[in-house]
Amino acid sequence: MNPARGSLLGIEHLEAAEIMKILKFARRMNPDKPRPLLRGKRVLLLFYEASTRTRSSFEIAAKSLGAHTVLIQAMGSSIEKGESLLDTGYTVRAVGADIIVIRHPNAGAPYVMAQHVDVPVINAGDGLHEHPSQALLDAYTILHNKKSFKGLQVAIVGDIFHSRVARSACHLLSKFGVRIILCGPPELAPGIAATLAPGVRVTRHIEDALRGTDVIMLLRVQTERLAGLKIDLAEYIARYQMNPARLKMAKKDAIVMHPGPIIRGLELTSEVADGAQARILEEVRNGVPTRMAILARAIGKMR
């Protein structure tokens, strides 16, 4: 069956107008001024993969809207005993879930869930595929700092191949005409990545990526996902690490973003992470109102 209305499975198939609607609504959300839009609703957080910020952010967002939340983690649940994805889905539906938020190590798992369970499914990150709520909170952060997407250039530096954040960001920014430059070694930023969306190009040279750039998005090298790829970290640092000297190549008012967790000394130096241009903690803060909007939208309360 078709995914339930209000599902958020990815950015790729979302229209620009819908994205703007979510972002506008998010601006009206404030976790310090709770609104009971989800009163009496049950939000099931199904986490097949460890997560600190996304999980807690969704949890706080749901509670700020008056929902009950139940967290199910693969470890220590029936999932660990071999229960299938769909059986877990049917079970949490039977328990009375009104919204399922799912984080899963396999690409497309939320699609499979949404095709079989008749409640809205929200993708909180699926394998290497998409991380739509992260892209939305990043868009929220960019708009807060740059007022508009018009004429912007965004450089995404690092492990593009293993990054669902990068894929979602490319889809989202491309819909608003942003110029997107992906930068990294071929193993991490393959040429084929340019086919992801209109306005995306790939470069191996950090200067090329940074020149004239308004927003720098840094990504962690996901060593746990490399699966046989041999990456020389010292060489990566030498060529791509964001340090104060490199930061100067970008526009003067460029901002530095990172979906976290950051590894100081690898993809960026402490001076950059703690510097005036960094927006890394602001992103985390913006995650809550953005996810409040996503959850409200899920049950048709985004009005």
Partner: protein, 435 residues
């Protein structure tokens, strides 16, 4: 197994259009089958004398019984996916009078005992089942199985399908021994060192979907090595299973030009679909080799037309629902294919790409018969086995997976409107399917 009963000893097929590429026949012909053999072939109304039964084939194509070189009947050991009885029922519905069953079962068919078990009447086979035996013990890729004994027991080829024979020396030994015995070695060409964790073809689409991709090189490099070996080992017979890439075709062409005994098969799904077709992580689009790029499919279509391809084989790979309805990356590889093969060939190859019907029939009959030396089959000359497939090349129909005779439903073609339908399947002179 399928010998005709005495009361239906003869069958006259009247008014049909006979296409028998091996005999270079493409004309209206009547056909008399008697005692399990082809007794007479003659222009319309020229066959004198009666027959116990008559079959009106007006408006229909009469062809040698179709042969599928590559099916997974899942027995022994995995009857929850398919049995020889259900798989051969699906084969009959698809017009196949002979199927070659793959040895990657539980246990692996690597011994004479299991070959004999496959042939027992209790299995309930509705069509001829030819065993392909494991090329190495337990298909573990370490030591060759007993080719001589397996061949004597009736195996028509050896393979480790599901896995490649990766080790250079083992492949060399297999081809050498196969060459001595005139025994084909079937390769599932995949360099598994390059495909770990992969679930579809490597390309723009896999990148977009966040799925690790199998490169064309992972197939082509193994085919290239095998063709090189086959060119240098006396009498070696190499058969490339489910060939799916343009580069692998280049190697096969080179081998054929050098007069090496290299043959290959392609599947209906590889000439019909590409990696662009998969939607919403539907695991009915997941198989190995994966659906390839549009340019690979183009190359396959060219190779079908120009004669490089020897056979269409289905790689019918049934799986239970719970093995498919799950995370794409974790779902089992493989789709069913017996009941849609002819219709896909007619719809895609004949109607869209103008491949002559006689060439399509060749790919289902004489071509595969030659690959594995299935004597007396693949042609309807007088005295050959009375295996006949009768189909309506113009009939439009809709394939509904729920109506499949296979035990499994894992097909991407559910609900497809197709042209070309099997009307009757005759094995050893006996009608085993009537549509």
């Amino acid at each position: 197994m399928t010998s005709p009963k005495n009361d239906h000893d003869s069958l006259l097929i009247k008014g049909g259009h006979l296409i028998d590429p091996a005999a270079r026949t493409d004309a209206p012909m009547d056909l008399l089958l008697k005692s399990g053999r082809v007794a007479e072939i003659a222009p319309p109304n020229k066959i004198k004398g009666g027959a116990d039964e008559k079959l009106d084939a007006r408006g229909l194509v009469v062809a040698p019984g179709f042969i599928d070189l590559h099916v997974h009947l899942r027995e022994p050991g995995q009857a929850y996916k398919e049995t020889i009885a259900t798989g051969t029922a699906a084969a009959a519905a698809g017009g196949f009078t002979s199927v070659c069953t793959m040895p990657n079962t539980v246990p692996v068919v690597d011994s004479v005992e299991w070959i004999e078990w496959l042939r027992q009447p209790e299995r309930g086979a509705l069509v001829n089942v030819f065993a392909i035996a494991a090329a190495t013990r337990g298909s573990k890729g370490a030591t060759l199985s007993d080719f001589r004994a397996l061949q004597t027991a009736g195996a028509v080829a050896v393979t480790d399908d599901g896995k490649p024979i990766l080790d250079d020396n083992i492949m060399r030994e297999a081809l050498a021994l196969g060459g001595e015995l005139n025994f084909p070695v079937v390769q599932h060409a995949e360099d598994t060192r390059m495909t770990e964790g992969c679930s579809m073809h490597a390309g723009a689409r896999s990148f977009r979907l966040g799925l690790r991709g199998m490169t064309a090189a992972a197939e082509a490099s193994v085919v290239e090595r095998d063709v090189q070996l086959a060119m240098h080992i006396p009498n070696a017979r190499l058969h490339v299973a489910h060939l799916s890439t343009a580069d692998a075709l280049k190697s096969v062409r080179r081998g054929k030009r050098a007069k090496a005994r290299v043959t290959c098969e392609v599947t209906p799904h590889h000439f019909t679909l590409t990696d662009e077709d998969m939607r919403d992580y539907d695991s009915n689009y997941k198989m190995n080799p994966p659906l390839r790029s549009p340019s690979d499919r183009e190359a396959i279509l060219v190779a079908i037309a120009d004669g490089t391809v020897d056979a269409i084989a289905t790689d019918h790979a049934p799986h239970a629902t719970h093995e498919k309805q799950m995370e794409f990356e974790r779902a089992a590889f493989g789709i069913t294919g017996l009941e849609t093969a002819l219709a896909l060939a007619i719809t895609r190859l004949h109607r869209e790409k103008r491949v002559p019907l006689s060439r399509i029939v060749e790919l289902f009959t004489a071509g595969p018969a030659r690959c594995f030396d299935l004597r007396g089959r693949g042609s309807l000359v007088r005295g050959s086995v009375a295996d006949v497939t009768i189909f309506d090349p113009k009939k439009k129909w809709t394939f509904e997976a729920v109506n499949s005779l296979s035990k499994s439903r894992n097909t991407p073609f559910d609900g497809w409107q197709l042209t070309g339908k099997v009307v009757a399947t005759i094995v050893g002179g006996r009608v085993v399917y009537a549509g």
